[in-house]
Symmetry: C2
């Protein structure tokens, strides 16, 4: 008998009809002889509505009370899901995060799962019941309700799949799977049949918005295979798993653009040892995450340093950099928030040459100027002008023939 | 330092503005040096909306899952109430029924409170915090969420006041207090300043709809004085307490009409010992609550028996009575569901004569025929034709000068 975790996101349970449809999927898996644990998010816009209510009361609601408030969203969903499964003639029982023993730390609104007591779930599964668990929530050691922050329901599903040693974890959502690029931007983006944790991690951090990095990291750490599947049809979606040898045949699996960074340039810095350490040490002290950094080869004893920071931290980063300009006796500080970062990702890069060259050529042909470059083992990123982002993404997608990748991934492992 | 329990009903917390207003009342009581425990119901129509959602899923939702679902209503309220108190600069912390240790039996949707662990509440009160508790809910011995059924939030408030030995329990609602009659029917009904538990119990059972009998019984058992107060102004409302000597000066405190019973008549019953026992024994076996019973003096060895039952049980009661008609060789069974029961209540009746006579005269003058009469130590009830109910209530209210009673109750004890 297999154990399957099925997670339904907010758009997949946004009304009674959709909950009933999701319940049919659960019942089907149960009927096929599987033990099924269901994780649900809050219905549609419920969480946003609850946030709205809180902000009608006060501009700065306490984090503990926010968790008390928004955790009701998933509680409503689990009750309705259990009822819908009952209505199909199957046994089901719902549990809040606290009831099922999902213990987190006490960092309200962004808690981390510390441990999960599986006794209750096992007991109910052994009675032949479907166990319906509220995603996104837990309790801390003092019995306070906590929530896990953005993507929290995915985290619940993956954590349950890991600890229960589930055979599969299905993440049902409103997209068909993971694509080679955002299909809203690149119409001929193709759906991947498989992708490795590492590739998805790079894509998640690039803002592909399929899943939060934390859930993918967790799945990778505990080797939990999962599928990102559409809730509206029977497609198998995209399997996310450890990389297999044949996956390297695909040089590039996806491309993505992010627009959440800004660029700071410090010009005319005396070119001597310790300058970079001093500058980035100061930014680190301000808790500012610096992403891409380039430092040109100096001339006349001077150099320029350019780096990117999250847009939300730009002002603070500029203040810190201006302070360092004085201290380092540099000439000028400037900022540009109209930038985008275009990246291509693929584990095949490790064993294939010419990937960077192909990307740069595609951008050059499109007349896109590359401002900064950063690479990792399985990723190449270019900072470009924001106004050229869509065009650049399409050009790169075409250059790597990503519209064909979905077809080329072959049979699932 | 006094300990006060303040309970806010659904209409008193139906939107953000009302929650803020309620929070001001809480803050005021706290500022005056009291320890304050707040009990809140779900906002406005939330519970009805949740019931509606459940019924979109299935016609027969499981009771356990209904409790899981509707208990979110109060959870939303407590979080918002705590936030609103914070916004006024006071410390507050919210707890669900389960978190605060309100343990009930396992009868979902109509659970009874078994015990309350006050440790957590005391700890938080001692830290100077306002403790905000979800009304209407608890957990059973297996950690399942339960709800207390109609009037459940009042039950929570009264139970907390009892176990915490509170100095006062304020039930804030959308009426000014307890009236001598339903002001929607009798425009010159007057507000009582004080009423005894027993009188309110009779009125509650008569459908005065101010409070459920169970909460009043609980308050009486543990001698918890409470006030039914309006949330929209500073009126002190009506104090409900043990009877005091001077309360007997008021012969009749209130009058009420109920329409939830039907009348069954069994004619031509052989007038011999054991007949009534046989008939009502059979009805009891069917779990039918018989209220008023009259049996005429027989003639020619025959008698008629008339009794009232809840309208919802009429069909079943008729079946049982028809069966007894055969067994007892009676002549005829008939039913009438177009009846009303008009009652007057007052602890002063015990020491005053002529109350019944005054009631009957008032009805006679109004041309109202009395079909059945039943009396207790502090109550006289008459079954009359439903179409005459309003007129009869007004006539009796006038006859006992109840419009003046509210003025005559004098200073509070």
């Amino acid at each position: 008998m297999s154990l399957i975790v099925q997670k339904f996101g907010g758009t997949s349970v946004s009304d009674a009809q959709k909950i009933k449809r999701a319940a049919q999927r659960v019942a089907q898996a149960h009927k096929e002889g599987n033990q099924v644990v269901v994780v649900v998010s809050a219905m549609g816009d419920t969480t946003d509505e609850l946030f709205g209510l809180a902000h009608q009361i006060t501009e700065r609601p306490s984090a503990r009370e926010m968790d008390m408030l928004v955790s009701t969203g998933e509680q409503i969903s689990i009750a309705l899901m259990a009822m819908a499964i009952h209505a199909l003639g199957y046994e089901a029982i719902s549990f809040t995060g606290g009831q099922v023993g999902i213990v987190t730390d006490s960092r309200h609104t962004k808690a981390r799962i510390m441990k999960i007591d599986t006794k209750k779930i096992r007991e109910e599964l052994d009675k032949g019941r479907v166990v319906v668990v509220a995603g996104y929530q837990g309790i801390d050691a003092y019995n306070n309700i906590t929530t896990l922050g953005r993507g929290g329901s995915d985290a619940t599903a993956v954590a349950l799949a890991a600890i229960l040693k589930a055979d599969m974890c299905d993440i049902f959502t409103d997209v068909a799977g993971i694509y080679t690029a955002d299909p809203r931007v690149v119409p001929d983006a193709s759906k991947l049949e498989r992708i490795s944790y590492d590739e998805l991690l790079e894509l998640a951090s690039l803002g592909a918005q399929v899943m939060q990095a934390r859930s993918v990291e967790f799945a990778k750490k505990y080797n939990v295979p999962f599928r990102v599947r559409p809730s509206y049809n029977d497609s198998e979606g995209t399997l996310v798993c450890q990389e297999a040898k044949d996956m390297e045949d695909i040089v590039v699996s996806g491309a993505a653009v992010t627009r959440d960074e800004a660029k700071i340039t410090l010009r005319g810095v005396p070119d001597r040892p310790g300058v970079a350490a001093r500058l980035f040490g100061e930014l680190a002290r301000c808790n500012i995450n610096v992403d891409v950094i380039i430092q040109n080869i100096g001339s006349h004893g001077m150099t320029d340093i350019t780096f990117t920071v999250p847009k939300g931290d730009l002002q603070e980063a500029m203040e810190a950099t201006r302070k360092m300009k004085e201290e380092l006796q540099a000439q000028e500080v400037s900022a540009d928030s109209k930038i985008a970062k275009l990246s291509v990702v693929g584990i095949g890069m490790r064993s294939h040459c010419g990937v960077a060259e192909k990307m740069f050529s595609a951008l050059a042909q499109e007349g896109v100027n590359i401002q900064m470059i950063s690479t990792s083992e399985i990723k190449i990123s270019c900072v470009i002008d924001e106004s050229q982002a869509e065009r650049a993404l399409k050009a790169v997608h075409r250059a790597f023939e990503l519209h064909k990748v979905g077809e080329k991934t072959g049979a699932r492992g």
